[in-house]
Each structure stands twice: as structure tokens, then as C-alpha cells.
Symmetry: C2
Amino acid sequence: MKKDIEIARAIEKEKIVTIAKKMNLTPDDLELYGNYKAKITLEKHTESIEQGKMVLVTAINPTPAGEGKSTVSIGLADAMNASGYQTVVALREPSLGPTLGIKGGATGGGQAQIVPMEDINLHFTGDIHAISTANNALSALIDNHIYQGNELQIDPRRITWKRVVDLNDRALRHVVVGLGGPIQGVPREDGFDITVASEIMAILCLAKDLKDLKERISQIVIGYTYDKEPISVKDLKVEGVITALLKDAIKPNLVQTLEHTPAIVHGGPFANIAHGCNSIIATKIALQHADYVITEAGFGADLGAEKFLDIKVPQLEKAPDAIVIVATIRSLKMHGGVSLADLAKGENIPAIRDGFSNLAKHIDSLKAYHVPVIVSLNEFTTDTKSELEAVKEMCDKQAIPCVETSIWANGSKGGLELAKTVVDAIQTNTNDYTPLIPEGTSMQEKIALIAKNTYGATTIEYSAKALTQIKQYQELGWGELPICMAKTQYSLSDNPKLLGRPTDFAIHIREFVPKIGAGFIVALTGNVMTMPGLTKEPAALEIDIDENGNISGLF
Amino acid sequence: MKKDIEIARAIEKEKIVTIAKKMNLTPDDLELYGNYKAKITLEKHTESIEQGKMVLVTAINPTPAGEGKSTVSIGLADAMNASGYQTVVALREPSLGPTLGIKGGATGGGQAQIVPMEDINLHFTGDIHAISTANNALSALIDNHIYQGNELQIDPRRITWKRVVDLNDRALRHVVVGLGGPIQGVPREDGFDITVASEIMAILCLAKDLKDLKERISQIVIGYTYDKEPISVKDLKVEGVITALLKDAIKPNLVQTLEHTPAIVHGGPFANIAHGCNSIIATKIALQHADYVITEAGFGADLGAEKFLDIKVPQLEKAPDAIVIVATIRSLKMHGGVSLADLAKGENIPAIRDGFSNLAKHIDSLKAYHVPVIVSLNEFTTDTKSELEAVKEMCDKQAIPCVETSIWANGSKGGLELAKTVVDAIQTNTNDYTPLIPEGTSMQEKIALIAKNTYGATTIEYSAKALTQIKQYQELGWGELPICMAKTQYSLSDNPKLLGRPTDFAIHIREFVPKIGAGFIVALTGNVMTMPGLTKEPAALEIDIDENGNISGLF
């Protein structure tokens, strides 16, 4: 069996200027990064023109069996184009953390990939590095301010702004900086997040333009004074340099799929610890230059889709016209209690029926938004006909179309029926999108809506710290900001071990982190961490390069 | 008076493919980064073809008055081309540390700049970010190895591999990582260097090709076992992924000067804490595609030029055909005891005579290499005729040509006489380059040669730690590796306050750091630090960007 990277390398790519033409972008709209990557300039894209239709691809809670959400997003876009619908796919940029950690890449798989995959998976056009640098320049300027006399009276014990690195680096979660005596700085506790959790990543993904970017950066709260007053970037007067460091990162990147569909890949917040969607600027450009835009949000529908719908949509001012939920027989079985090793043991319809509860919950939650929902059942060669039929039947009972796809093996050909189903759903959609969270709800009401409606929790338990923060945030006028939940991706609950559809569980709100520039409050639940660690045998050990520059081990 | 960035923006750049043509590079040899930046592919540049002549530009010890070494390098290349000599300038890439710290940019000044200066000064083509990432991925893999059972028995107290960030961040010099309990890692002392001090930067600049890069990376020593045996990257088996992360960074970058001279800008180790030269690959490509190559080494001749001659030349297998030392009346006055504030007080020939001692020492040291030496006296409007004459006279006594240049104000026109003098010197050069350090000398002999001949020190004092390390390194077979001195740039001594030509001083060897992949041992002298700090009013505070993406405050 050919590896993804071998398939990707074997295909002749079209020049990126040719790809751009498919969405009516001229060479003047591009800044080339070699022949196959480009940034799209921000000029000309601010005016309001007619927008295309938008399809959000999401999934059940991820399992080690693999669901193939990016693969389906890419293959669906290819299938739409193959069916005569002008379509662009808009995705997030991979973080190096998981690329070197567990995943080995995030550019689809099999016959549905975006290319050049080595570049996209490694440094790409440098956006994430620019974000790391902007984030850490702010940290250096904060610590320097304190060292140089601390005019603003920043309390070193109350700095909430953390440093970042775009790697899975457990040892940096909790650190002490500024050690070594008076000429080395002021000692304080600090920690590193992974870059994709940085507020600057969130801001870049939510900003409308360069002006909005700078305005949001100026509003970032980095900590508190000794008098517990919040300190913003504008108090430090460094929003100019932080924004300047993002001058190129704010421009969306254009690449292509293996079937030469334009792919806009921009911004990459994780959906478990951040808001999980690609950038508003990229989505808007895609919508202005295509009849159909396929986009995805991170992890399962409880995380990425919820944040897409409740955080991104209000700012994008456009709701999806259809939502595709990706599931596989294998992953439904795991939600039904089968172990990864036992997946090979053949047909197991009872397990699928049990595991379907996870998919059913996501269907229910998404139906509440009044957007058409379609299940994409992503085939594996080991699936039996009865297994596939069982899932279709259960979807039928929920009045949801369930379409088999074989995109990984067959590319667009494996997604033609899904494309047709999606277009049909959009054309009959009555466009009565309804948000989950009404305006004017309190922090606790918002959390209750998400935890109960989306996760299916029975209760919400707040730590003493969280309760104090709620009071404090209300006094500071932050009480009505949207909530961005940070929760394990593996379960509907905040306990990664509870697969399927857990019932009778509480969501534990440990702590809040204000992201005032991004315009939301992060709620940390359970034991979720904003800096992943590496496994005993990380993907990094497999990655190699030969003397001609050919990379292996990315998949 | 126009700011550098205004001059740079006002000039119409040529397309980079047009620039490339001037050095017989076709579009196929390039990977474009927009219209005005490109990477040069590594294909076709490995075979030995006729090489051009090489001019090394260096300077006296830097003062706050400014010497203009990059400006002279760029302007000399422009003047060479204007005089009919096909010339390329090969420089280092700026680090964001000083750009946001004290310098605000490192792309020349006035009428002699490389462009696009905003891009080059900020993230450029991402090389330094790739190096930071490769460096820190190795750190994460080391800490993960220990956390996951520590099969190699790495002693956490004896890890010499530090993390890096390409910023001036004092608070990261000494840190404790791995805090927070058993699931967060193993606590240990650590520290961050600035990226340009990373061994990976040194390796990238010394590697011959991708294969050599990987081989050198595999030889990096990251620390010691509990039994005090060195641990290399190859023991961790991660040279593949570290090298893969550098797949683009190893390719030299092509930009242009304001007068459209090709400028290869690649690699950027500092000369005070690292080896201070641009990459061997870039220099070789330049030499293969130009009749003359102007290159520079960092800081004063005691640091950058010494390392260029003693570390880079043996690996490049080519010595410079001429050396230009840059000085200004203002900086000579400061070496003669005048304060920055008092520079405005007008003519002061006695101070210049005193300060000339600094220049004289560098002339002496460089003469010993048997390469023609030329002084470039870089004019300021405040210089008087008698002051300029005094310096010329003193150079005359040393039998060294001293040429006035007005490159900052006049571009190539201000460097035509320098160009002529350089070409004359090269044409009459007898090519009997003699290295300072004979083969087979011990660590202490090497240090003595550099400290006494280059710095003019009388004695060398070793700390107890350094003496122990010498013994240890001899046992490990590292005793004959070149020494890369880490020393303040401001003085010939290791005390930044001793300007001019200090006499009767000792060089204090505090500690060694083995850089086995780079192939040298760093000797830390005095109080030199491998992570700079920010000043009270860093350049970052001046940097801004408007809503159209125009950057200000880089100069």
C-alpha cells in the first residue's frame, strides 16, 4: 500500500497561478512561495460581494481508529468540482506539535490530500512561527517592563500571558523564569502553551483586516497590577510591533488538492484548547471566490462545530448551509466499547449500535441549529455490508441522510454521492439558522447551554477559583463575552475515558482564561492541558530526509 | 532627512528573476518567495567550478557612534558593479533579537541597503524560525526521553543542550523546566539562548550540503549520562527529523541592493557568542556565480574576522583575497575616550590619534594572515578634513591604504575609489594566506594564539571549571577542535568598558561549551551572555504598521 507522501509526490501539481485562476484570482492577487504555494493579498477582498454556500465538515468524537475528517473535506471539495460545482476547500494549518507527536501530518490522506504536503506539514509559509514570535516578543516585553522599573506596577504573580512553542513539550508546561540574580530578571512562575492555543492565533483567525487585528491585539489582557487592575497590550504600547510581526501571517495561503481543487489553508487553533476554526479572512475570501466552500472545524462536533457555530459564525456573519458529520464503522465500534486491537475481529453490529449513541448525540445537537445535517460514513475495506446498513438505518430513524464515501481509496469518485446529497440539502434548505446561545446570557448560562445541550451533561461543577473569576469578570465587564470551552476531544464529557454517549455526568470548570483581544473567555474543564506532551514513540522518530531532500515518515 | 525605510520603499525593485540572471541563475534555480525574494536550490551547485575573488569586510570594535560595516559591504558591491566588475554581496540574515532590541534592523543604511528591508528584518524566508524549531524539537525530544523512562540514562543535571528563542529575552537565561508534578515532566535547570547562538545555526552555516548537515546534526552532543559519557543526537536517533525541519532553511536566499546588485543573505550566527559568518553554501554559490564576492563577518575584526579566517576559511577551502576594515572618525574618537554626547563638540585630533590604536591593532592582527588589508573610512558630515587626513597618515605609516567612502549618502558613487583600491590590491596579491593557528595545537595553545595575537592580551586566566573541562575534552578526543571565542564585541579585551587598545590585560576563560556537530568548542570569556536582554526603551516600541501594511520604525 502506498504511503500518503508517496501518493502526494507521484501526482503532478498544477502551478499555483493556474489554481488561483479557478477562483478568479490573478497573479497580482498572489505572493508566490515557490511554484505551488502562495499567499493571497488582502487588497480587493474587503468589499461585500455575493457569497457562495458554505458546508461545515465535522465528526464524531475522535478515536484511535481514525475518522478522516480532513480527508472527507478535501475529497468532498474534489467531488463537488467533479460534479460541476465550483468549489474551494478552506482548512486550518497543521501545527508541528501533532505532526512531530502523534499524527505525523494533517493534510488528508490517500487520494484526498492537499499538497505540497511536506511543506504544509512542516513550516508552510511561516504563519505559525510568526505567531509564536509575536506571542513571545510580547512576553519578553512584559518581563523587560518589570525588570526596567515596572512603571505599570504589573504583579509578576498575576501575569496570565504565557509563552508558546509550536511543539508538544511537556517540560515547558510549568516553568520558573527570571532566575540567576538581579541582572538576569525577576523570577516568576510561567508556562508555555502550544502556539495554536495562543490568543494571537485566535485573534488572527477572527480579525476582519489588519486594522481589526491591531485593535484586538491592543486589547489583549496580559495580567493584573498589584491592585488587581487588568493590564492590556495598549498599556505597554506594543500593539504596533506585535501586529507588524503578523504582516504576512494574516494573508491566507493557497495550495491545491491532489485533484487540483483550490485549497485555502490558514490559521490553526486547536478545537480542544482554542476555538478550532480556520481564519475569517480566509473563509470570506473563499466565499467571495467560489460557489461552494467546504470548511472543517477541529475534533468532534462538540468542540469544533460548536465553536464554529457559536463563536465564528456571529463574527463571520454567515452560517453554514449544510453540516457533514464524518464517522466510520471502526470508530463507532470503539465508541461501542471495542478496543483498537479488537477492531480486526470482524463484524460487530451490537457494538456499532452502542457506539452510534455518540453520533446520535452530535446529530441532535447540530439539528438544534436548524441547518441540514448529513452523515458521511467513511468506508474502510474491513466494513461489512450489514454494518454499513445498520448505521444507515439508524440515521434514517433520525431523518438524516447517511452517505457512504470511499474518498481515501478513490478520491472524488468516492465522494460523488455525498456531493450530490450536500447540494440537494443546500438547495432545499430553508435558511432558518438558529444560534444555540441567545444574546445577553451570563457566563454560567452559556456554559450550561453548551454543557447540557451539546455535551449532554447533567450538572456543571465550578471550582472555587472559577467562581471567584466569574465574579471578577462580571465586575470587569467581561461577563457577556462568548465562552470557548477547553475540553478533551475524546469524550462528550470532560473525562477522556468515557466514550459513546456518557450520561449522568458533570462538567468540571477548573479555571477561566480571559482572551479579551480574541473576544472570548476560555473555560478549562477537567484535566485538559494547553500544552500537549510527546508519546514514548513520537512520530518524530519516523521522520527522515535523504540527501536529495526527499522527506519520509510524514503520513 | 529620509529614514532608511523610506529610501528603501521609494526605490523600484527589479524582479528577483532579473537579479538572478546577473549571476547566471535561471528561474529553475530559484524558489520564489514573492517577486523580490527567492531561495536558490541546491542542485547544480556542488561541482567545483572556477571561483571568483572574495573580499571580507570587517571593522574596528563597534561603538554606539556606528561604523556602517553592512552599509560599506553593500555599497562596495554596488560600486564594484558600477565599475564593471561582476559582483555579488553575501551577508548574514538579521536576528529579530537586535531588530526589536537595539538596532531596529540590519540591512545597511542610507543609499546602501538590501531590500525588501521590512521582510529581511522581520521573518524573511523563515530560516531562523526553522532553526529555532529544530533546536527546540531536540529539547522536547530530550526531555521526553527522560520522562519516558530515560533508557539512555541521561543525567538531567548535565544536559548542555539549551532551548532557544530568536528574541532578546533576559528572563529566559536561567529557568527551571519540568515543574508541576509527575505528569508534567522531570524538573531540571535549563536556559534559553538566542537562536543565532544555537549550534544548529552554526551547523547550517558550516555544512557543505544536506548530507553533511545531517551528519553534523547526528554528532551534536546534548549532554552526559550519569556515568559522564557524552550523549549525541544519533543516540536519540532523531537526526532525521531535525534535518527535515531544515530542508528549506539550508537553501540560500537571494535579494537585491537598492542598486540591484544580487545579495545572497543566508545564516546569521552572532560573532560575539557564535562564529559570526554567513553560510558556506551561500558563499560557495556566490563564488561560483560572480567574479567578486563581498562578504562580511560580525562585529569587530577580533571576533568576526578572526572566526571567518580561523573557523570558516579552512572549511570553505578558500581564503579572502582582500580584507576591508571599516572605521569612522566618530567611532575612533569614542575609542579615544570621547563620549557619545561629546562627539558633537567638533574636531578632536588627539582623541582620534588615541582611538586609532584600536584600528592599528586590528590592522596588525589581520596583516599576519598575509592578505591585503584596506581601511574604509566611512564619512559622516561632521568629519573635518584634518581629522580624515590624520587617519590617512596613520594608515600610511602602517603601509595600509585608507580610502574615504561616502556610501551612506551617495551609494555606489561614494565607494568607487574603495572598489578601485580593492581590485588593485587583489590583482597584486601574492596569495600567500597564512593561518594564525597551525594544525595540532592544543586547546590552550589555540586560545593563547587568539588572545595574545588578536586581542593583545598578556595572560589567560582559566576558571577551575574550564580547567576541568579541558581535561575532560582531551579525554573525549575533542582537544584539537577549533576554538570559537565568545567575548564582548565592544572591547579587544573581555571587559566591554576597555575601549581603544587595552594593554596588560588578561582574558578570563569562564567555561567551555562543546559544539561537536559544528566542529568547534565555544570558550565563554568574561561575563559574555548567550541571551541578550532588552533595554529600557527597546526598538520594538518604535515599530508600527498601518492599516495598509506599511511598517515604520525599522531603520
